[in-house]
Amino acid sequence: MKLSRKWLNEFVAVDAGDKEFAEAMTLSGSKVETTEDLGAEIKNVVVGRIEKMERHPDSDHMWVCRLDVGKDEPVQIVTGAWNIHEGDLVPVALHKSTLPGGKKIERGKLRGVLSDGMLCSLGELGLDERDFPYAAVTAAALLNDYKPIDPEKPSIPAGIKPGDKVYGPVICAGVANVSSAGDGKWECTLIRTEDDSPCATTLVTDCQNLHQFDLVAYNTKTNAVCTLSDLRAEQREFPHCINDGIFVLHEPCRPGDDIRPVINADDRVVEFEITPNRPDCLSVIGLAREVSATFDTPLTLREPVVKGGGPGVLTELLDVETPDPDLCPRYTARMVRNVKIGPSPKWMRERLRSMGVRPINNIVDITNYVMLEYGQPMHAFDYRYVKGGKIVVRRAREGEELTTLDGNVRKLTANMLVIADETRAVGLAGIMGGENSEIVDDTADVVFESANFDGTCIRKAALALGMRTEASAKFEKGLDPLNTLPAVNRACELVELLGAGEVVDGVIDVLNRVPQPRTITMDPARVNALLGTDVAAADMYQYLERVEIHTGDRSFPDGPAQVSVPSWRGDVEGIADLAEEVARFHGYNNIPAALMRGQTTLGGYTPAQEAERRLGRLCRSCGYSEIITYSFISPAAYDKIAWAPDEPLRQSLRILNPLGEDTSIMRTTALPSMLEILARNCNYRSRAVKLYEIGKIYLPGGPDGLASEPKMLTLGAYGADMDFFALKGAVEAILRDLRVADVTFTACKDDPSYHPGRCAGVYAGGRQLGVVGQIHPAVAANYGVEEALYCAELSFEALLEVRGPGAVYAPLPRFPAVSRDIAVVCREEVTVGELEACIRRSGGKLLRGVELFDIYRGRGVEGKSVAFSLTLRSDEGSITAAQADEEIAAVLSALEKELGASLRAG
């Protein structure tokens, strides 16, 4: 919400500087986002009066002007603009001045002639014609500026002179004299030569670019000076006859005056962040109330006064029906007749513009002005298009169409509220008017609507139609129904002030829900208890008084009392709200800071949280870095990881209104997220990457129709030092750290995302914890990666379950161990896991360790030779060679019998 400090000053006089103002308002709850000084960029620009103009001696289009700028000495400025005349008041950017956009102006020479600054156009001051409609420039086509497009074939001969024919009734004429005719018009004496005898014509023209000795195209039939369009000429044929020029001021000002107040660039516009509970602050008056309360300065509000007396009887002219009273708690309307549509006055345009609203015409500007001032959206429609003089506020018919003011055809539903006449909709209630009842130049009678609509209904309609407007944004927050009447009266008052029409006596006011004055209980002791303060009761009541929350007799009692809440403060409902009002004006920063008291609680992590932290630390110490990925993925991700069409885990929770297909379903696997990140890093040419994520997956079928959200530990890696066993080693380290017992890895050939020969299921006892393996090359290719990717997916819940008990010390061995190496030859299909399991099974109680140390394939070996180092030890005494031999023999015999693995010869 923007606020003009000038406009604010009409209601509350606060002269705090920008910073002080912003800080005070922010600390009382109206957060100031920015403060814009409208004239911040304009420096050293003053009003000047042109005393003398001469053509530049060395240019065919420039003028040398001498100006009075309120100093002892006049200044000389060279300009290329042609719309100025001696006596004009113009903005002068003096030597060392700055203009909007940071443009700097300095003294200089133009074609050898000194120029002490620059004369400014509207645009150069950051303005446009909407700010000063009178400053629009109309240019005559000056024949002395003519530049033929084709020099071989000029449309106008080079030596043309007064009296020469241009075409048809248009002849060349010379300007003898120009003087102001007032009202932006010019009286001009033309010399034309007819039948070789000189003859003068005097006429009044809008063209501002005429000066003595100029040659013009004069239409003898219409008695007018021709413009470019009259001659159907192109701009480049008359390069200096443009519809732009210096901003000639018609304002009450004198040479030497600072230009900023003249063009309203001396205002400050403060932008507030207004929280949704305070729609009352979306207006100048609402903010003025807050400013008054914050600075404890009186607020000056007055009731609008309408003289009325317009022709006709309102009740005969207009009838209002509200068949859906729930959606329209109040509808207030007044009528204005014999309207004269025109621009609104400068002060009104300036205020609108300072608050970011574009001026249109007096009636529309009045509705916008009242909306800004009172926070009550208003609408004006042309009475002649209200068929039957009847306004019906009803639900739209399903499929009903309405062309709104922005020219778009809107298809409506029965959930939307329209303003209609007897036959058709003429406006979308609370959002935008209809084109069919728009205020136009010949509008004669106007209906002002100032209504209160149901916020939710307006919000939903605006949302469904994709047209959130200034009005709908206000209505959706819930407005004060008591505001409609003062607002409509203010609009009528402004009509009379502007002389824009005649207000018909009386008001139509349909009140479907009569707002009741609200009183609630204020209890100072409870407020202190809530805030942790020791504020005196009387002070509290005084703070409340500032925001017009009063006790019945406006006293400041010492204890609890009933207080009345103003109608615009719908957000104040109970003691907590009153506590906030007290706190706001006592100052949040004056509330002491205390340390928590009361029963102590034991903080800490749960065992699962502790395990998760430990797991993360372990992954990092294994060289894996943590990633965080989105919980939602594309449905196509399941295809990319090659899941079968009937894979049950494809059943995912689907977001009905996703940002896009790519983020439309909740992942049931974290693998695609990991693969995406690996692929991205691969694309970024990072050569060795190891990553982990501890993140949730989302499986349908949780309690209350929600998801079950188990966590997964996903590892992913690639690079020169990565292979299956490197990743398996990390998984083993993790399992060892968690003291998981009975861990096995089993070849897994049927996980479609993984290489069928390089993937293992990870088990603890019979419980599967997850998988580890190389990603299937076809899947990697789906992610645009040619390199081998390695991933492991482990269920965090399963890891928690199989976690071993805490460590208990086992005595260190007292007797030395004996180590025996064996190498057995077996068929290729026999796995190391099977061999090892067999050794462990067959070894007696002396066998304490089995460690693979070599696998050999090649000459002299059929199949493969696998070598293990066996550690034997007894707690009773040193092992004898005979004991060791016996143990080894048993192992070898079992290997031979069970797996056909025989001791390698030699």
Binding site: L531, I575, S625
Partner: protein
């Protein structure tokens, strides 16, 4: 004989002095002290001596042997020391050659920030609560005093799973307040970090998924002064003793009074600079006293119990902590980014 012994002694000692290594030493040992060595040779002639001379000569011969053995030992030690010195010299390394790499993984910056925060609150007696991200709208909105019609419930702002707008992706961690009140015994002191979701397109400051930490205290006699005291302590732990805060009125449906807490800009000390957009303060979190309606909806008597709650955006906190300019980096997971933390 006496002369012979003296000669052997002198010769041997001089020979030892010129020994260069262990082999030289061994040769000398054999030459003088071996079974066929010179000293033994002399001793073999002892039998020719008279009984009177024999002990005297014997004593003398033993003295020579002891002297030679001592000299041998000393020489051996000297040679060993020299050899060690030589070896050490040969083994000298260029210590500026880089060490063998030990690759350590890195924690994601956002979780670094989160762990700091968790540790601070745990130290103050809080427990960490986790809960569902696919959440009931009733927990995310109704029970938090944002009834049907509240703008944040719009489909343009919140992700839904069903046409009745019943199941959604939580848009805040605040439903954990309700879940805590439902399941925990009073008094309650919890923080609840986690993922939250809003329908924002990805840009430098927005993401449809981000993280918040919720905090809540409910007990008898809890006041806004406690809220300020606790959060000030947190800020001092995060930003160092003396970090200044200010509290501004704000609005959240589920707290009243509500506030936002700013911390004084560390860069300019409050004077105003680009980091704080000229304000001198940086917005840190939203907080407030738990709304009586929220307490009552969860069956807690708002006349007896009061509470305060806060919510903080983790990404913004991490971005400020590590001077990360673009939110997209957080979820891009570029290792060149991750390895900086």
């Amino acid at each position: 004989m006496k002369e012979q012994l003296a000669k052997i002694r002198a010769e041997a000692i001089s020979a030892l002095e010129s020994a260069k290594d262990a082999a030289d030493l061994d040769a000398l040992r054999v030459k003088y002290l071996g079974k066929k060595g010179e000293l033994t040779g002399v001793l073999k002639m002892m039998g020719r001596l008279s009984p009177e001379e024999r002990p005297v000569m014997g004593q003398l011969a033993n003295d020579v042997r002891a002297a030679l053995e001592n000299a041998l030992e000393a020489c051996s030690q000297k040679l060993e020391a020299a050899a060690l010195e030589r070896r050490l010299r040969d083994e000298a390394l260029d210590v500026t050659i880089p060490g063998k790499p030990v690759v350590l993984g890195h924690q994601h910056p956002m979780n670094i920030a989160l762990e700091e925060l968790k540790d601070i609150f745990i130290g103050m007696g809080f427990t960490v609560l986790e809960g569902p991200e696919v959440e009931l709208a009733s927990y995310n909105f109704d029970r938090l005093n944002a009834p049907e019609g509240h703008p944040s419930r719009d489909w343009s702002d919140t992700f839904y799973f069903d046409g009745d707008s019943r199941v959604m992706l939580r848009s805040q961690t605040s439903p954990m307040q309700v879940r805590a009140m439902e399941t925990m015994d009073l008094p309650i002191r919890i923080i609840a970090p986690g993922r939250v979701y809003r329908k924002d397109e990805v840009d430098a400051t927005h993401s449809p998924m981000f993280h918040q930490v919720e905090g809540m205290v409910i007990d008898k006699g809890v006041t806004m002064a406690d809220l300020k005291g606790t959060l000030n302590t947190v800020v001092e732990q995060l930003y160092g003793a003396g970090a200044k805060t200010r509290f501004r009125p704000h609005h959240f449906p589920f707290t009243e009074p509500s506030c936002e807490m700013d911390v004084q800009c560390h860069k300019c000390g409050g004077a105003g600079c680009p980091t704080c957009k000229g304000e001198g303060w940086i917005e840190l979190l939203g907080a407030g006293m738990v709304h009586p309606k929220v307490l009552e909806m969860s069956g807690i008597d708002s006349g007896t119990y009061t509470g305060w709650a806060f919510g903080i955006g983790l990404e913004r906190m991490a971005m400020r902590r590590f001077k990360i300019a673009d939110l997209r980096l957080i979820f891009e997971n570029d290792v060149r980014f991750l390895e900086q933390f």
